[in-house]
């Protein structure tokens, strides 16, 4: 019996353990998507289910969400995985028991395509879930039958195009058509999700096998965000960095030579010994704070990366003894004050682009000239305990790299780091001369926040002097 064979091959048997097994499998799915679910949390979920009726989907979902997803980001992933998991579980069970939908889907000829197009656009605007689901099925019946490409994503896009749904306004459509103003992107995405889901359902029913699950992509996973939240994300990264720097073990300066006795705490402790100060309490040691010079390329190719980086450094100001920042394109200019005055990221980048006066004629970076200017400006202040950080893509636009001057800088400074906002893959291609500079310093690729964090960690560890110094 071919059907049975197919069924046994396509749909996995239910795992052991009944309901408990399903919940464990769900937790495993969450872990695969990067939500840290501990054993104790799974146990909590089971305890919750003792008190919550399983038959109520909302209570069930909220209950286990309270124990398994513990941040807004995790919660978002939880919603997606929850839908995917229980959709697949239900479909697999239906396939196992061979339940198919009664009745025939209406053929393409029964549907008025123009009415359908308008109905869908109207339902999207009003945001009614149930109507959308039904309309998605109709749309598949009308446009998707018979010529399925076998790739769900391709089919989804084909149907969307056939429906004439676009994000941008379509002024040539008649007055009163809901698509005239254009459909907001998030609504389009939602409808595409319905289409995908219904196509998937049909596929499972047709082939009686469960396709491999699709991992969440970055777009799904991201919280719906605007520019405000992007800034908030920056602040959060900075706050975390600050916290981590504060809690990491710092190398104590000069052994215990400069320990000061904390009189108040010593007196307090002396009570245990009847007022006689036997144990001395010391003030905590101050952590080592490096002195930092930052040079940032602000030419158009890297400008957003560098202003972001500068603002991060200045947010971390407390962690450093002295921090001076310079921006450069063809010439160099000090902007330390701008950042001390302006804590707002956007205002700071505006001030820099207006007042710094670093562009000369061409607007292309001239590294050679920058090194010379920097060296003459700072030569006397560089010393072996200073750290120099350069942020730039090392693209010289064909001008001489003058790595000999750069070597002179690194020789005077204790440590020199280079942060390149390009992925390592592109280094030394075209006019990038990072290899010439990398001989004298330590170069990092830095285009994601976690890489930045990694770097700040290295920086604050006050590690050994590197490079030619």
């Amino acid at each position: 019996m071919p059907l049975r064979e197919k069924l046994e091959r396509g749909v996995p048997e239910r795992g052991p353990g009944g309901f408990a097994g399903e919940l464990l499998a769900f937790a495993e799915d969450l872990r695969e998507e990067g939500v840290a679910v501990g054993t104790s949390e799974i146990l909590d979920a089971f305890r919750v289910l003792e008190h919550v009726p399983w038959s109520d989907q909302r209570d069930f979902k909220e209950g286990i969400a309270a124990t398994l997803a513990k941040s807004p980001e995790d919660r978002r992933v939880f919603e997606l995985v929850f839908d995917r998991f229980f959709f697949r579980a239900a479909e697999a069970e239906a396939a196992r028991q061979r339940i198919t939908e009664g009745g025939q889907a209406p053929g393409a000829s029964d549907i008025n395509l123009d009415t359908l197009r308008q109905q869908i656009a109207a339902a999207l605007r009003d945001g009614s879930e149930a109507a959308l689901r039904d309309l998605a099925r109709l749309a598949i019946a009308a446009f998707g039958q018979g010529q399925g490409s076998g790739v769900l994503g391709v089919d989804v896009q084909r149907i969307r195009r056939a429906l004439g749904l676009r994000a941008e306004a379509q002024p040539d459509l008649p007055e009163g058509d809901p698509r005239r103003e254009g459909t907001p992107r998030d609504q389009l995405r939602r409808f595409e999700q319905f289409l995908r889901r219904e196509l998937e359902r049909a596929l499972i029913e047709r082939t009686a096998s469960l396709p491999p699950k699709r991992p969440l992509n970055e777009l799904d996973r991201a919280l719906p965000s605007g520019p405000i939240q992007d800034l908030a994300a920056v602040h959060r990264v900075v706050a975390q960095l600050k916290r981590r720097l504060a809690t990491q073990g710092h190398e104590p300066r000069g052994r215990k030579r400069h320990a000061h006795v904390d009189v108040r705490r010593t007196m307090r402790a002396s009570l245990e010994t009847g007022g006689v100060p036997i144990t001395l309490k010391y003030r905590p040691q101050r952590p080592r704070r490096p002195e930092i010079f930052v040079l940032c390329d602000v030419s158009t190719s890297v400008t957003s990366a560098s202003t972001f980086f500068l603002s991060v450094l200045h947010a971390l100001h407390d962690a450093f003894r002295k921090l001076r920042s310079f921006v450069f394109i063809e010439r160099i200019s000090e902007v330390t004050e701008v950042f001390e005055r302006e804590r707002d990221f956007r205002a700071a980048s505006e001030a820099i682009s207006k007042d710094a006066g670093v562009a000369d004629i061409s607007g292309y970076t001239d590294y050679g000239r920058v090194w010379e200017e920097f060296l003459s400006l700072i030569e006397d202040e560089l010393h072996p305990r200073a750290t120099v950080i350069v942020l730039g893509d090392a693209r010289t636009n064909g001008r001489p790299p003058r790595d000999d001057v750069f070597a002179a800088i690194t020789a005077r400074a204790g440590r020199t780091f280079w942060l390149n906002p390009e992925p390592r893959l592109y280094w030394n291609y075209g006019d990038s001369v990072i290899a010439a500079y990398e001989r004298h310093c330590v170069a990092f690729e830095c285009w994601r926040t976690d890489q930045l964090e990694e770097f700040v960690k290295v920086l604050s560890e006050g590690g050994r002097a590197t490079g030619a110094g």
């Binding site: 840290a36 104790s40 909220e62 513990k70 405000i228 009570l271």
Partner: protein
């Protein structure tokens, strides 16, 4: 007094509503679970969505006293847990300096009499069950969080001189956080998680109506709609629920029958607390209160 014991989620929802707090779907559920499982609840969300208010409402509903610990940077054990009243101890040592042996004095000065109870200790040692609110836990440092762990998992405190003090009753614990920093995994693992966000339009309308029932329904609806529009703007501090309620009260006192351009400009300082926000809103929201736009 006999504290209330809820038996179902609807119980909690109705009870909270009875004391003037309209819970969202998950709020009632998680509160119910907190009373049943005896696990602390970590409540996160933007400022002013009723995190602290939830704890107060729970205390009223469960008829338990509320013990509140306000966190701030630099909060330490001595201020959160307990401290020896060392002035009193010194006096004791001095008055009895002659004739008593060390043993006696030591037993004396490390008794409960010389112990200053701080909020966490009060909550643990209380004879009747309490609601413990640890407010704005994200303001403290990680060392303090670590100390809270012992308390939250076992509900006990170790005092070296006195031994272990265990909770006599199971407190309901709420921790609130404005999400200004990531809390440690260890702490999160021990808590149930509740994310409170700005409520839906209808829900907020109910809340406003509950707090100022005399305000005209039409005005209240318009008020909530305006607030929701304002929250969509890029503001330093978007108006919270507390500010919607304040605004409703202001309008009621002024006897406003409609929110027009004029009333709005006069009263918008109630909902906006930053100079720049006032400017942004004045230029953006003014248009939508225009009578012409209203008629369209």
């Amino acid at each position: 007094m006999a504290p209330t014991e809820p038996t179902s989620v609807t119980d909690v929802a109705a009870g909270l509503e009875g004391v003037g707090y309209l819970p969202g779907e998950s709020t009632a559920l998680v509160s119910f679970l907190a009373t049943k499982l005896g696990k602390p609840v970590l409540v996160e969300g933007p400022a002013g969505v009723g995190k602290t208010e939830l704890a107060k409402a729970l205390a009223r509903f469960l008829e338990r006293p509320l013990v509140r610990l306000q966190c701030y940077e630099g909060l330490d054990e001595a201020k959160a847990l307990y401290e020896w009243n060392y002035r009193k101890q010194l006096l004791r040592i001095q008055t009895e300096s002659d004739g008593t042996g060390w043993q006696d004095v030591q037993e004396d000065i490390f008794g409960e009499e010389f112990l200053l109870q701080r909020p966490l200790m009060t909550a643990i040692a209380s004879a009747e069950p309490v609601v413990l609110l640890v407010d704005e836990i994200d303001k403290t440092d990680q060392e303090f969080e670590a100390m809270l762990l012992e308390l939250l998992s076992d509900f006990q405190i170790s005092i070296p001189e006195l031994g272990r003090i265990e909770a006599r009753t199971q407190p309901v614990v709420l921790l609130t956080s404005n999400n200004t920093r990531e809390l440690t995994e260890a702490l999160k693992r021990r808590c149930l998680y509740l994310w409170l966000d700005y409520p839906e339009l209808e829900h907020e309308l109910q809340i406003v109506r509950l707090h100022s029932p005399d305000l005209d329904e039409q005005v209240a609806r318009k008020l909530v709609e305006v607030i929701h529009r304002i929250r969509e703007l890029d503001l330093k501090k978007p108006p919270s629920i507390a500010e919607s309620i304040d605004w409703a009260r202001t309008l009621m006192l002024l006897g406003a029958t409609d929110i027009d351009q004029d009333t709005f400009t006069k009263t918008m300082s109630v909902i906006l607390k930053h100079r720049t926000d006032l400017d942004t809103v004045a230029s953006r929201v003014g248009v939508m209160l225009d009578p012409a736009a209203d008629a369209a």
